[in-house]
Symmetry: C2
Subunit: 428 residues, 2 copies
Amino acid sequence: MTPALLTDKYELTMLSAALRDGTAERRAGFELFARRLPAGRRYGVVAGTGRFLDALAQFRFDDAALESVAAFCDDTTLEYLRDFSFGGDVDGYAEGELYFPDSPVLSVHGTFAECVLLETLSLSIFNHDSAIASAAARMVSAAAGRRLIEMGSRRTHERAAVAAARAAYIAGFDGSSNLEADRTYGVPALGTSAHAFTMLYTGPDGPDEPAAFRAQVAALGVGTTLLVDTYDVTAGVANAVAAAGPELGAVRIDSGDLGVLAGQVRRQLDELGATDTRIVVSGDLDEFAIAALRAEPVDSYGVGTSLVTGSGAPTANMVYKLVEVDGRPVSKRSSHKQSHGGAKQAVRLAKPSGTITEEVVFPAGRPPADADGGRALSVPLVRAGRRVDDGGLGAARALVSTGLTSLPWEGLKLSRGEPAIPTRLVAP
Amino acid sequence: MTPALLTDKYELTMLSAALRDGTAERRAGFELFARRLPAGRRYGVVAGTGRFLDALAQFRFDDAALESVAAFCDDTTLEYLRDFSFGGDVDGYAEGELYFPDSPVLSVHGTFAECVLLETLSLSIFNHDSAIASAAARMVSAAAGRRLIEMGSRRTHERAAVAAARAAYIAGFDGSSNLEADRTYGVPALGTSAHAFTMLYTGPDGPDEPAAFRAQVAALGVGTTLLVDTYDVTAGVANAVAAAGPELGAVRIDSGDLGVLAGQVRRQLDELGATDTRIVVSGDLDEFAIAALRAEPVDSYGVGTSLVTGSGAPTANMVYKLVEVDGRPVSKRSSHKQSHGGAKQAVRLAKPSGTITEEVVFPAGRPPADADGGRALSVPLVRAGRRVDDGGLGAARALVSTGLTSLPWEGLKLSRGEPAIPTRLVAP
C-alpha cells in the first residue's frame, strides 16, 4: 500500500495550480523544524528519519491512488503524479541527534512540486517518532542504567505502536512487547504473560496460581518472568519460586505501591534463595515514577501509556516551511508565526569537556567565524532522489546515548525548564 | 500486510504455554471496557469497531509472520497459528454509541487461545479511535452546527492519521484533509492551499500574493478557499476578492486573534460585496477555542493537533480482561485493579423525554427488574467468526448525534466534571 495518499488534499490542489502556470518547476527549499520544544522540555530527540526515507522510496501514485484523486485533479496533474518519484536532495540531522528550537532537522531541496508533496508525510513521521523518542530519552536517563521495556502497543494506534517501539529503542530502551517492531526493525521482543493466563487456571475449587506458574515454566523455562500480583503478591512470589526454583528469571509486579512491594519482594526472594531472580515493575510508569523508584531494588521497568503518548507531549509540533524559491529567501509575516527565510545549516558548540553550550543556526554555506570548531549537525540523506546509506538503528542509539552525555547537567533534570542550550539564529 | 503481528509477544507465549496442557481450549470470555473516563470527561464515544472487524477478518499468520515468531514458539504453537482464524463470537456497543465507566464495550467469547490473541490489536484500535472520537464529539457540540474540518494528519503517526480522520467523521466532523481516509473510508477530503503556495509566487520584486490567488482561482475556480494571512490579512482579503470576485467561496485565517480577525474580515468581505464568502478559521483550535468563537462570524473550523491527540486524552485507557473461564466468573484481586468477573450486558435508562439517566451493567442474561424499558446496548458483531452486517459510518454518525442529544445538559459542558450519568454495576 503506497504511502502517497497519507497526504493532505491541499498538497495536490497546490500542485495542480502550480502546474498550470509553470511555477511548479521553481527550485524550492523546505525546512522541517520545531519553533519550540513541548512546554518545559529541555531537549528533543530526532526520530523518524529512517522511516521517512523508507516511505520516500515507496512514495509513488499507483492506479488505485490516481483513481481516488482523479475527481479533483486535472489530467496534467494526474500525469505528473503517475510519473512521480522524488528526485531532489534531502539533508538533515542524523536520526538520534538531539534537537532544540529552530534546529533545521530536515532540509528538502528540489522543485516546488516534488517538495510540497512530502509535507504531510514527513511531518507525520517526524512529529510522532520524535515525540516518542524525546519522552523515551527522559525515561532512559531516569532509569540510570536499569533495563526499560516498551509495552504500550495497546494504548496507541496499532501501526503507531510499531513506530513507537522503534523510537523507544532508538532512545535507549532495551526492547518492546511489539512483535511487528521485532520483525520490521529488529527491536528485541520481550514479554511472557498477563493476568489472564494465571486466571485461566481457575477450576471448580477456585483459582490455582501454582498450576498456572508450573504451566508457564514448563513452556518457557525457569528463566521466564512470572507475574505475581494477580491475587496476592506474597503468595504469588512463594508460588513462583516453588514452581521454578531459585533459578527463576524474574517476577513482575504490575499494581500496588511498587516501591514498597519491590523491597518486600526482594527480601522474600532472597530468603527463598532466589537471589538472582530479577524484579520487573510495570503499571502506569512515567519518567517521574521511574526516577522515584531509583532507591528500590528494581531491575527492569515496563512502560506503556506514558511512552506511547509522549508523556504529556504526544506530538513534537514540527512544521515544514518553504524557505527558499529560486535561491531567494521567502518567509511569511502572519502574526506569531514569523519564519526565517533562506536555507539554513547548524553547528553545535561544546566545551573541551564535551558539554554542549550552544546551537548556532546560520544561512547555509555561511557559518559565522565564532562557530569554528562546532560540530556540523546536518548530514546528506538523499542525493538526486537516492538514499545515502546511514548506520541504521544502532548508530541512532549510539547518537542518543552520546547526546544525553553531552547535555549540561540541568538538561537532564525532569522538571519543567528551558531548553538545555540556547539556539542562536544568525540573520541572513 | 497481516495485522497478526500488531500484537504483544506475551499473547503468543501465553498461547504456547496454554497449548501444552490443553487449557488453551477452555471456553473464555474477555471484555473490553474503561474503568474510568479520562480525567474530567463526561462521556466517551465508542469508535474503532468497524476497523477492528476489518482487522479481525485479516488476522492470519502468513509465512513471514510465522517465520518471525518461530524463534520462541514451539511447533505446536506454530501449527496452531498457521491454521488460525477467529471462530468465536463478539458482541459490543455499536460504533458511535456513547460509553461510560465500566460499559462493556466489547465482549469476546471463544477458546482462550483465540480470544487472548486479539487483546493487543483490539485495545490499540479502540483506545486510539475512541480517544479521538470522544474529543471530536466535544468539538462538534462546541461548534453548535458550524462545519468542522479535521486537518491534523501532520501531527500524528501517518496511519493513525487515517483512523483519526475516520473517528472525527463518525463524531460529526464534515470532512478531513486526509486523502487516504477518503479513499479507504469515504471521508470527504477537503483543503485547498497552504502558505507555501502563496510564497511560491515570490519574484525579484518580492512576494506577489495577487498572482498566487489568481493562479489558485484559475485552477480551482472561484468557489475555492483562499488563505489570506500569509502577509497581511486586510491586504490578503482585498487581493482575494480582486482575484475571484464576490463569488469567492471562502477565505481562511490561520493565525492571529481569530475572533477579532473574523469580525474584521466579515465586515471587509461584506463591504466588497462578497457577502456569501465564508470564513474558515484554523490554528491551534480545540473545543474551548471553538466555543469561544461562537459569537464571531465564523463559518468553519479547521482542527488539527488537539483533535489527533485527543485534546489532552490521547488514549481511552480501555482494558481487555478475562472475565469467564468455562462459564465460571474470574477476576483478579491485585490492589487498585479489581475487575468484576463474569460476562456482562448493559442497558441505558432514559426519561420519557429521551434524556438518559443511568447505565445499568448486569450479569449477562439476568437484567434487573428495574432496568425494564432500558435500551439494550450490546449488538452482535461476530457470530462463529463471521462478521454481522452493520450500518457503516453513516449509522455510526447518526448514533453519535442521537447520543449527544440524549445527554443531560450538564453532560455537554466542556469543563471538567463527573460522568454525565452514573453506571450501576449489578453484582452477579
